[in-house]
């Protein structure tokens, strides 16, 4: 099962991130990892949370614009050159990464990287064929 990422549109202004996170806090939703991509006026917050559907609903009710996207979480050895090798694999299969970020914790002593591909199913198949371990949603959100 793919990992569900919550993407949230925020204006680049003081207090906006906090007011969004307050909504999640009130619902007792835990953020497992969070990253922000920003341009001049706005940013997109990407996060992996417990109970993503409920989180999205709560944010929408509070007039935030958000969406859920499927991403791939992949285990990568925590040694020099391991990420580079993984990217080589993507190249070989002409898989373009839209964006990527690191998960905050190790799983089974391995680093976990989150990747967003246009065609997630093709990417998943290629990576499994190459022997990578795709981390399941349940492993990530700890439930």
């Amino acid at each position: 099962m793919n990992v569900t990422q919550l993407s949230l549109f925020l204006e680049n202004k003081p207090g906006r991130l906090q007011s969004a996170l307050k909504v999640l806090s009130e619902k007792n939703i835990n953020i497992r990892t969070l990253t922000i991509a920003e341009v001049t006026d706005f940013g997109i917050v990407r996060m992996i949370v417990t109970r993503s559907d409920e989180a999205a609903r709560a944010l929408k009710e509070n007039h935030f614009t958000c969406s859920v996207t499927e991403v791939l979480a992949i285990e990568i050895d925590d040694v020099p050159g391991a990420l580079s090798r993984a990217l080589e694999t993507f190249n070989k299969h002409h898989l373009n990464i839209e964006y990527m970020y690191a998960f905050t914790e190790k799983i089974d002593d391995k680093a976990v990287m989150i990747f967003r591909f246009d065609d997630i199913e093709t990417a998943k198949k290629a990576l499994i064929d190459e022997g990578y371990h795709i981390v399941k949603k349940t492993e990530i959100i700890g439930e």
Binding site: Q5, S7, F9, L10, E11, R16, A37, V39, D41, F42, I44, R46, K60, H63, F64, T65, C66, S67, T69, E98, Y99, R116
Partner: protein
Amino acid sequence: MFNKESETLQHSKLKEMQYERMKWSLRHAYENVPFYKKSFDDTGFHPDQFRSLDDMQRVPFLMKQDMRANYPFGLFAVPMEKVVRLHSSSGTTGNATVVGYTKNDLDVWGEVIARTIACAGGGPKDIIQVAYGYGLFTGGLGVHYGVEKIGATVVPVSGGNTERQLMLIKDFGTTMLACTPSYAINMTDYVEKNKPDFDFRKTKLRSGIFGAEPWTEQMRREIESRMGIDAYDIYGLSEVIGPGVSCECSEKSGLHVFEDHFYVEVIDPETGEILPEGEMGEIVYTSLTKEACPVIRYRSRDITRLYHDGCKCGRSFIKMEKVTGRSDDMLIIRGVNVFPSQIEAVLMENENTEPHYQIIIDRTGALDDIEIMVEVNERIFSDEIKVLNQLSNRIRQRIQSVLGISAKITLVEPRTIARSEGKAVRVIDKRKLK
């Protein structure tokens, strides 16, 4: 064509006719309405000095507030025993304006509506459902008598009660619908939500004449595809006669003005100067045959342009573009006249949905800056920055090519744009504060 002789008049013949009728209309107003006498006298113009249509520039304007100030019958040019019908605007923004009609005026009105129906491909065999409101509003009764004039069958259902509207379309075999474009969309929404078995395509409905409010090409496409009909724009204003001032023909590219009854000019709303054919400005109406309530150079505040394009339908009357805005809303940005509705149209064509937006104009040094804030709703949101950047670039390029100005596009969160009484405030002009 309902009246081929009039509707295909040679240009020179038409101008001659307009000149003769204009002479009568100016004199009729001057001699019978104290308001016109005073306003003409104040500017030093007398109907005797009217030698050609070029003299129109000298005739003073009639403003909306003049009509309100003369509430109710101050602008009538005939005694009340000649007046057989009254209509009135809703008067939500000040005093209502009242218009009267003589028997002859009603005949003319029926004639121009009959032409309108023929323009939209209708004829005596049609069953026309009039879902404009009946009453003081000119829409319902105006269209009603035109339907009878052309010899079609009128279904005078008036507005509202969508369930019944649909039943009549089906049971009576309505072929043409007359209502506001927003009510037509409303009907399709109602069907989608409540009557999934109702299929407009299985009814005899094949066309509609829609007007009484400005609407966009996007709305036309929506009505046409959802109802499976041809949708025509009809235009009019109660001050001039009601519906029947102009209408679209089979070409659906501009509205023919019934110039043998209504004389039209386009002026610069700032200076009042008459603009050459083809230029965008405020359209000004003069009635040529109206008896009860002549209007002389009535400033409609509607923005459009006038042009001849040798229309394939064969009508020689000048065309006006779909009205795109009101001169009250006009903004002058770096010397370019801009209407908020033009920006709205660009936003709608891009996203096929109407996002909330706000236009902010400011001045840095000598230069005007325009910023368009667009609320990011779920339909246009993406988790990828590049998609959102492409969106704002696309909007910027379209605004550049449509309006000739470069605007800054800022994507903002929902509910960022202030609403007043549920409506978004579309324009903030900070230049006025400086």
